[in-house]
Amino acid sequence: MNRASLARYGALVAFFGLGVSTTHAAEPVQILDPSHINTGDTAWMLTSTALVLMMTGPGLALFYGGLVRRKNVLATMMHCFILMALVSVLWAIVGYSLAFDVGNPFIGGFRFAFLRNVGAAPAEYAPTIPHTTWMAFQMMFAVITPALICGAYAERMKFSAMLAFSTLWLLVVYCPLAHMVWGKGGLFNSSMGGAIPAIDFAGGTVVHISSGVSALVCALVLGRRRGYRTHPMPPHSVVLSVIGAAMLWVGWFGFNAGSALHANALASAALINTHFAAAAGALGWTFIEWIKGGKPTVLGAISGAVAGLVVITPASGFTLPIWAMVMGFTGGVICFFAATTLKHAAGYDDSLDAFGVHGVGGTLGAILTGVFAVAAVNLPVGFGNTTRLGLIEGNTTTVLHQLIATGAAWAMAAVGSVVILMIVKPIFGLRVDEEDEYAGLDLSQHGESGYNIEDAFSATYAGGGATLLSGNERDSAALVGSTHG
């Protein structure tokens, strides 16, 4: 790394710190000839799009839903589900454009707003598939990222506040970050003219650091759940979480291998790296828990698999299976400590360990990607003509860039989330009130119960205590009294 490049970083970092927008005028995103569309690539990308959607719903909805207490299961699943709806609409209106139109190094423009110019013809991001496919694939990433955050504010945030927070967060944190890392001309874009080329194959910084760090901020700003550390809050159904984790694992093949944008050997490499990292992560967490705590837990195994998946995400298309296993195993072990020792020592209440797994795992992954990237696997244009990409190949620049990108993602997520919460709080209020928290969000926010299975003959039994008032009969709002008896 020579002096000139050092100077360049300095300038850009200052730039970034000041929030001054660059005046660099990049070429607009090229729209290519539809004849380049390849059916195999398109088939794989449509499938991957479906797989990534499946990660949020039902995958994450189950994973998170099982971890909360019974009285909050629906509200937690609702977070995931409503974001599938809300984020998609926002993405169509302006999100995609802000992320992937050319603008400045920090944010895109409005050329693709309302999906104008997003049609059958491929964009240069993905030359062999329809532009709409690329847009849809990216949309699913935008959907899952804010959904990951809800692990931190679960069991206490108001539904209205959650909607407002997610809306602003998508536009203010996610879209700029996605633009910086993946957008043409984005600051860290490693193949389309980024000033500080960093590598993030499938979203280590964009998805995991951003959501994980924002989760930490949410946990700190909202404060602990009532009864945290004095009352136990066991997962109401680890069974649901196991199902969810397995679906996340499967769906992650779309997430990572789909990020190759082709049905080719790179996709295949990303798939096996993803799989081996998940496997090693599960073994890592189980192993460390077994030797530390006495028992290998099922929740540990699934948490470790997710940690391994998080860690490998940025590296999945840049490294070899053996390193993927090392990264996954490390991720399982480190995230174990983050979700247990670190959280308990620091005292914040990250309900479902969104920071412990995604924040810590994402950060670890971003840095280790700089260590274990292998030029022979995949060398982005931005790194020029070299045979060395990761630290293990003797390239120190990549790690440095990874650290800068990581720092930028931390800063944006942290600052952005604090500001958004400050805006949302006076308008909607962030937390439900005490009674509603005791009664559970299912009842207080949504007027529903997750399960009505008290009795094998629940309907007749419930009949004893309930009266049906449907249609336009009296509105018995008065009857809705205290429910946290």
Binding site: S449, A462, L468, L469, S470, L479, S482, T483
Partner: protein, 112 residues
């Protein structure tokens, strides 16, 4: 001996148990139940169909004590379980004819 049956709010069970422990009463049997009284239930709504659930979740705690300890135990429970809001529950005291510890066959006060 007497059997104290206390219908209390579910989140008070810990407090009651500790209050009893403080006065040396360590045996308790608890049952989940549903109460109907002055305290209102809540409304749920599924596809527009409103359902008023009148029964409220409660816990029924059963504590068997020597007759001379009944007053003390009752006071301890009342104090620990009270929130001052409607629905705090009731205590019913039953006379008990005999108590037996299954493990040893001991009876009455020895069995507690």
């Amino acid at each position: 001996m007497q059997m104290i049956e206390a219908v209390i709010k579910p989140h008070k069970i810990d407090a009651v148990k500790q209050a009893l422990a403080k006065i040396g009463i360590l045996g308790v049997t608890a049952v989940e139940c549903k109460g109907f009284g002055r305290q209102m239930g809540h409304t749920e709504r599924y596809r527009g169909a409103k359902m008023d659930v009148g029964f409220v979740p409660k816990v029924l705690m059963k504590v068997c004590v020597k007759s001379e300890e009944a007053q003390k135990a009752t006071s301890a429970i009342v104090e620990a379980a009270r929130t001052g809001e409607v629905g705090d529950g009731k205590i019913f005291i039953y006379p008990i004819a005999q108590v037996i510890r299954i493990r040893t066959g001991e009876t009455n006060e020895q069995a507690l």
